[in-house]
Symmetry: C2
Subunit: 255 residues, 2 copies
């Protein structure tokens, strides 16, 4: 639930993020940031265009320097994937090779299983402008393509890295898809809620709210379901008691 | 499959992306790009710090100017959400309010259903540095928090927009999670594969490959499953025939 109550994530052990021929240090830095957002720390650089290490990468990493400091430099894709058992290539464009194509979501599930089975996996990302070349793809077992607006599918490098990392992280995340955030309180129990609803009904009876007898059950039912649906906290029930008290017996004279 | 074969996406009709107090034009532009990547085109700007329209936004949008051109300017969150039926607030930080918290994935499903039912929905994003303030969150029905590395969860604005848009798009995408990309060919049928495997077996018999009779069934089985597993195309089966022919009867003398 929202970062705080979530149990410890399994950080590390994820895929190598292999940037092939990245052109700008800024994009390497932004990719490092996106990686660490997703608990990924193993970055490989194949022939970056600018000298390495790179100050602009550090600046754009927003503190994700642990990724940059550990980044490994290679002079070929072959060298970068040598120790890996399974390699994906992220590319938006259809190519000529006959290769398996998966979504990042599907790949993330496969990678999670592979890593659990002791495999080392990696994902290739091409240079900013041109992407991976056809021959680069031959180093991959599988193509990974992000389902996006077909009329406008081009992602920048760090955003492609983010989506792949995000899907990786989700396969290991145990965040509840839906939760109620509560601070210093707890859900009201049915007794507390019932006591409030009874009291509200009595006050409304006393004030003449239910002036048409036939309508009474419907109106009571509506009020009850309304407050039921709100999933009130114990604190909120107390607040509502205060509201009713205040309306019934104002401490300040009404104008 | 990989953008090309995918049937037409339902573009449009998605949530309003409401940027509250964005500081830099560049981030508005990058957010517009991320939105269009995900088929979202309705951007609302609440009190951007820099004058609007903004040249830096256009530059960073990488051609997603249709989003910027249509962006609506508001002087309060209240005004921006007035026509909406359902509002989410994207925030990484736990706050004091008791509010429902959902993941972007869960929110995307909810939003898809709401839009299908004719509702208008929106997502609030806060300024780059500080994020949404506590009082801003009161304009939202529900908090949306991205499950990320709890030790390093800060996303930049456009990346937060991208993840929310990405999940929106996935709920409407009909991309197959796994597919085989084939160009100008088709999967081999079992007859074609069988004919090749029979031929391979004959050639290996002739060349004395199966010199231990007891091992023959196992070795034949291994070969067959190996090629079965490869999901060969018709083109690849023909290539393999060529490989066998060439090995059996070289057209160039062996050294």
């Amino acid at each position: 639930m929202a970062g705080t109550d979530r149990t410890q994530q399994q950080i590390g052990g994820g895929p190598d993020i292999i940037l092939v021929g990245p052109q700008l240090g800024e994009n390497i830095g932004a990719s490092a940031r996106a990686m660490l957002n997703c608990g990924l720390t193993a970055m490989s650089l194949v022939n970056p265009r600018e000298p390495w290490p790179n100050e602009k990468a550090v600046k754009m990493s927003s503190g994700a320097t642990e990724v940059l400091d550990k980044a490994q430099l290679f002079d070929s894709i072959e060298a970068a994937v040598r120790g890996l058992n399974r390699v994906y290539a992220a590319t938006a464009r259809p190519r000529d090779n006959t290769q398996r194509v998966v979504t990042p979501r599907h790949a993330a599930e496969e990678m999670r299983q592979a890593v659990a089975a002791g495999e080392r996996v990696g994902v290739l990302f091409g240079p900013e402008r041109a992407g991976l070349k056809n021959e680069d793809l031959l180093h991959a077992d599988t193509i990974m393509t992000v389902p996006l607006n077909p009329a406008y599918a081009s992602l920048n490098l760090a955003q492609a890295v983010l989506l792949v990392g995000y899907e990786w992280f989700q396969t290991g995340a145990d965040a509840e898809p839906e939760a109620l955030r509560m601070n210093a309180t707890r859900p009201a129990n049915k007794q507390e809620l019932g006591y409030f609803l009874d009291r509200l009904e009595q006050e409304l009876d006393a004030s003449g709210f239910f002036h048409v007898d036939d309508m009474r059950p419907t109106m009571v039912g509506n009020l009850r379901t309304l407050f039921q649906r709100a999933n009130l906290t114990e604190q909120e029930v107390r607040t509502l008691h205060g509201v009713v008290s205040s309306l019934v017996k104002p401490t300040k004279p009404r104008n």
